[in-house]
Point group: C2
Chain length 723, copies 2
């Protein structure tokens, strides 16, 4: 054996390699209350937050409690390795990690390797998804964002370093039954294939608070127009303007809610690639068509993808402003260039928005690889195919959002690709994957990463599946039936037509609650649809011993260990436990505190796992003790600007309660200038200990949108009644 080591020459050699293993100390700056930023190497001049053009909500951030930096700073390590950025964050034994993209099958990300890459979801949680957001939230109450428009790899407690602080036990596979193929790892390790990146740490006392900071720093969640929260139907692709008007009338005839209608590719004179021009045969008079819809109170949303057909008028205008590769023979506009955006804006505003189009569905900006531009593609702005892939969804959301914002008009649409920094963008993500269960898991996961997701309904094999899917979608950010391919209607399954209408009407009745919930997203950064892991009582408890975790008496502890991916919160008060076709029964994890059945107010449980057999006609919903649910009578369309509704206030349980009812004009951005109302609804015990409801004096603004008359519904019978 050689006794003299060649280690010194080897080290010297390694310094010659470009960027190999050069360690860097991080300088963390608290840029906002509880948010720290540092950079490694030379961050690129495009990033996710830059593409999303975020505008931090500084005031709201300052209202959050102060936070301490969640790591021992020198335990975060970084170096340049092989010309790329290496990052290492500590991970403790009892810590769980959430986020890292819109995942469809898993909620717990510890132990996974995520290659974050904008793509169509391929059936596996490996980082390739519509919103591969490089942000993770720890059960310990902090978040980390790597703000790079690159294919980032995150090893979430998988790699084991020789220099681990908390190394695993060495075992002999020959004889030791406890040998494991994946020994314990004490770190999150990240590879960013770029010369530098910004990184952000979001503090918090809970995971939810870290998520709030993430959303508020991104500008706060988007507040949809009221009509955006009503029901929407997308029509078959080759429907003419006459067909669509008839469709809207059919909704009237069936007394089914309809706030906006989605017009699929056939509105264009050519699609895949697109002209973005109305087809003269199917749409001879688009302005009149949009006007006729509008007269029925129905908004319109136009399908598009961004690939420009050589047969359209936009094509010659974009010469020199598109990428090296085509997608379905369409050129790809380079959205990093102001000139490109200006040309598109001229066309879209003039031909669509000026005649009343209310929004877009932006398709196929995600992938998959065989369709979109390859990584070898180049763009005139100089950005790479990889960078463009990671930000294109953000760029097109931001560009189109501005077209509406400049008119002081809210929009609400659909998009297939998003990424970090998207909280304030007016789009809901959707895809073609169509697994009902996994759609719900995506809804759960969307809450960690500042995006919205709709478990849209398309078709169903059975009436049961149809109803179960319609029930779920009514408890999501967009209640949408997408019938582009097969023309199904809400009433296509007569056996369950009544129950489908019931749940659609229930969504309409809940609009005051839902709208207030979205206002929390905007003003406080609270996700409107929320994973149970973000709910108080499901958070990290360092004192929990492992042996105790399996008990059904102890669901919070169980919750730490097992994924909760089939139930979620809508706002602060309503727990949603969707049912899936073929299943008559399910388990629901009921959090701490007493919980009550939404429909009859009865007590259902407290800090336990219950098994329910709810029947077909209702989606199981539970309300926390003291929960107040403001509602309106069922109506086919969301309240218009100036319309006043009667308020019905439901109350559940036995505790005192409080709810902030938010309202504004529902259509403009005047709320950003203070034109909104916040009214405190209070349930208090009087001197005799009897619960009574009062509308407090407005916390903010004069009350919008509600008549003075209020109906109080004390749902839980054992309590005392009424004001």
């Amino acid at each position: 054996m050689n006794s003299i080591r060649t280690i010194f020459p080897a080290l010297f050699l390694s310094l010659l390699f470009c960027g190999t293993a050069i360690a860097q100390e991080l300088a963390w700056t608290e840029i906002e209350n509880g948010i720290w930023k540092a950079n490694v190497g030379e961050p690129e001049d495009i990033s996710l937050l830059k593409a999303a053009e975020i505008h931090p909500q500084v005031g709201a951030l300052n209202q959050l409690p102060a936070a301490v930096f969640p790591f021992i700073k020198d335990k975060i390590k970084t170096k340049m390795v092989d010309g790329k950025v290496y990052l290492q964050f500590p991970l403790s034994r009892e810590e769980q990690i959430f986020g890292l993209g819109l995942n469809f099958k898993t909620v717990h990300q510890r132990g996974r390797i995520m290659r974050l890459h904008v793509d169509h979801y391929g059936g596996e949680d490996n980082g390739r998804t519509h919103a591969p957001v490089p942000f993770y939230v720890s059960s310990k109450g902090y978040g980390v964002l790597v703000d790079a428009a690159r294919y980032i790899t995150v090893y979430v407690g998988t790699g084991v370093r020789v220099d681990a602080d908390d190394p695993p036990v060495v075992r002999d596979r020959n004889t030791d039954k406890d040998w494991s193929a994946q020994p314990y790892s004490d770190a999150v390790e990240i590879l960013v294939p770029a010369k530098g990146t910004d990184i952000y740490v979001y503090g918090g006392s809970t995971p939810l608070e870290a998520v709030q900071r993430y959303n508020l720093y991104n500008g706060g969640g988007y507040l949809p127009p009221k009509w955006g929260l009503g029901f929407t139907q997308r029509v078959p692709t080759l429907y003419s303007q006459g067909d669509i008007l008839k469709e809207a009338k059919d909704f009237e005839a069936h007394d089914f809610p309809l706030d906006f209608i989605g017009v699929e590719p056939g509105w264009q004179s050519m699609s895949y690639p697109c002209t973005f021009e109305w087809d003269k045969t199917r749409f001879p008079d688009p302005k009149r068509f949009i006007g006729d819809l509008s007269d029925m109170g129905v908004r319109s949303n136009l399908w598009m993808n961004p690939y420009v057909s050589p047969t359209g008028t936009l094509y010659p205008k974009l010469e020199g402003l598109t990428g090296s590769h085509t997608v379905w023979n369409g050129v790809v506009p380079d959205l990093m260039l102001q000139e490109t955006r200006d040309i598109l804006k001229d066309h879209f505003v003039q031909n669509h928005i000026n005649i009343g189009v209310s929004g877009y569905k932006i398709d196929e900006v995600d992938g998959y690889d065989f369709w979109v531009w390859p990584d070898v593609a180049t763009f005139p702005s100089g950005y790479s195919g990889e960078q463009m892939r990671q930000v294109y969804g953000l760029l097109i959301q931001n560009m189109t959002a501005k077209w509406f914002k400049e008119r002081n008009q809210r929009t609400y649409g659909l998009v297939r690709a998003s990424n970090g920094g998207a909280s304030a963008l007016p789009y809901v993500i959707y895809n073609d994957y169509y697994s009902h269960k996994d759609f719900i898991t995506a809804l759960v996961n969307s809450s960690f990463i500042g995006v919205l997701w709709t478990p849209e309904v398309r078709a169903s094999k059975t009436a049961e599946e149809w109803l179960r899917r319609m029930q779920s979608v009514c408890f999501s950010p967009m209640a949408m039936l997408n019938a582009w391919a097969d023309g199904t209607k809400p009433w296509s399954f007569p056996k369950v037509e009544a129950a489908v209408r019931d749940v659609a009407n229930l969504r309409m009745q809940l609009l005051p609650y839902i709208y207030s919930t979205f206002s929390q997203y905007h003003f406080e950064g609270l996700p409107p649809f929320r994973a149970m892991n973000l709910v108080d009582g499901f958070t990290y408890d360092a004192n929990v011993a492992e042996g105790e975790l399996d008990s059904t008496d102890n669901p919070y502890k169980l919750a730490i260990k097992s994924e909760i991916k089939d139930q979620y919160m809508m706002g602060d008060n309503i727990l949603v436990a969707p049912m899936f076709a073929g299943e008559k029964q399910r388990k629901v994890i009921i959090p701490k505190g007493k919980w009550f059945d939404f429909y009859n107010g009865e007590f259902v449980g407290e800090n336990e796992v219950i098994t329910i057999t709810p029947g077909l006609d209702k989606i199981p919903l539970y309300v926390r003790d003291g929960g107040i649910i403001p509602m309106i009578p069922a109506q086919r369309q969301a309240p218009k600007n100036g319309e006043k509704s009667n308020l019905i206030i439901r109350y559940y349980g036995t505790k005192e309660g409080e709810f902030v009812l938010y309202d504004d004009d529902g259509v403009s951005f005047d709320f950003e200038k203070g034109q909104f109302s916040k009214v405190n609804i209070l349930i208090k015990k009087d001197k005799k200990g009897i619960l009574r409801g009062t509308i407090g004096s407005p916390a903010k603004g004069k009350p919008y949108g509600y008549n003075k008359k209020v109906t109080w519904e004390f749902m839980t019978k054992s309590t005392d009644k009424k004001q």
Copy 2:
């Protein structure tokens, strides 16, 4: 709309980006007869061919016909994009592409996107596989190698460039039924994430000739020792030396062939991580154990993976010479450092090879990602985790191969990871995937990329499956039963024991043919097991009209369009058409010229698709017209050095034929110094037109290994008999 373009500033900006879109002209040099090399950017100082340490067979290359450069040179384009190498090679309409790694499901690679990455095969042909060789062969008769130790992405006719020479037709998806989601592409585009790379083009008049050049440039195919081509059994993991000796005796008792035995992890005092030291309980006297086996004529092969246990004696010696991350708690030796290799050599030679160990099975150097070092890992040599992942299999093959070569001793072993340049390395690839059909497709694909593959047998649910798998593996580079987990024996299914023995004996009888076939691999670069697409008559025909391709009368043309992945050639003369459990019948594509049944010599077809119902006891084998198959009588072990065998020469068909029978000592590298024989076996028509066999005067060397007495078997009855 803006009329003044910002295109000039945009272009200027793009020049500021490091490496963005800087085109480079390629300077092609013909470095050997029909092989051209060029480089792009600054090639890295590790590459696949460098890791494999190739030694081109210049003499053999010079004996191939001259070739013309297969492209119009300026149609090959390259530039630096985003700090990476971009390559573009033309692709014509009727061209098919083969290779690009050890694929298990597909043979045709056109239309695929391959991300070449050393990994356990995951069930999808996406570039992640045990040998993701960045070499492709065109049906037009040329090959391209990108010699970079990087995760290379190859878009094989998928991306469509705006500047395409042969652009697809623009269609409207709304109304045109011929619209396609994947429009026609006229190029192979490649992204190499490195500052530079060497590229090679291999010319040829056929795809096979291009493959020959690839293999010869790599040093020619490895010629296994004769014992390596006999039967091998791997024993259960915790077998003791006594158990293994008993196993060898059981083979004798069952009169079943056995040339070498594989010893699994339990030989080590600790495995996963490994000590590479004999376990004193199970192997109290390793030297005697190896000696006892040797006395029975049985060689030994030791399992290993390279991850070094802290409990072993090697560990302290390797301090400072291992990677930043552990694998199963073992450190990863940095094989780029000579000192590391020296330390390992000392240990392995002293403790294993000096006492008679004949080879290794090198496990788990492929992946998967959760087990091996992550891409963020660093190594003292300065090479990155990515580079090490791509070459580790080559490095460890080359290192261990040299230990044996320095002793003038041939070895033959197993490895889980390989890559470009591996032709001359003494290892056969295997894995855990275990789909019989896909194993055969891998065998087909191995022939394009200079690697060997064994469809090893482990277990089976039924006797039928057992027999079918045993039949296939006997027609592969390594006839192996791998019983590490469950201890099956060749005779474990009594119902088919006789048929299993028959096919094992048939392999032993065929050794002269197989050994000569491997000599072609070494001396001429011809793959011993060969895809039908490499066989004359299956090659590209530019004049074929599309409409004609489906006819069963026209199998070559059909062959261009449909993948042939379940039949292959063993050497020049034997077509193997394996049967799979549950299938009683199959189709076989019979090439041009008359073909004959191996077992009875009967004519079976000519240029057509036949359907066969072969029964359980035999694997369908066909011999071409004029095919000569030299054999020996069945024996349990391959002929030892100095042993003389009786030669049996089978002849099929009606044409005159010729075969070059190769032989040498079977164990040493003396053949490289000319110590071998090549004897011409001729079947010629005499003056009366009657076929007669003669052994011609030796073309090279004095005849090795055969007695003078030769038995001639004219298998096809209609022809005249005998010498």
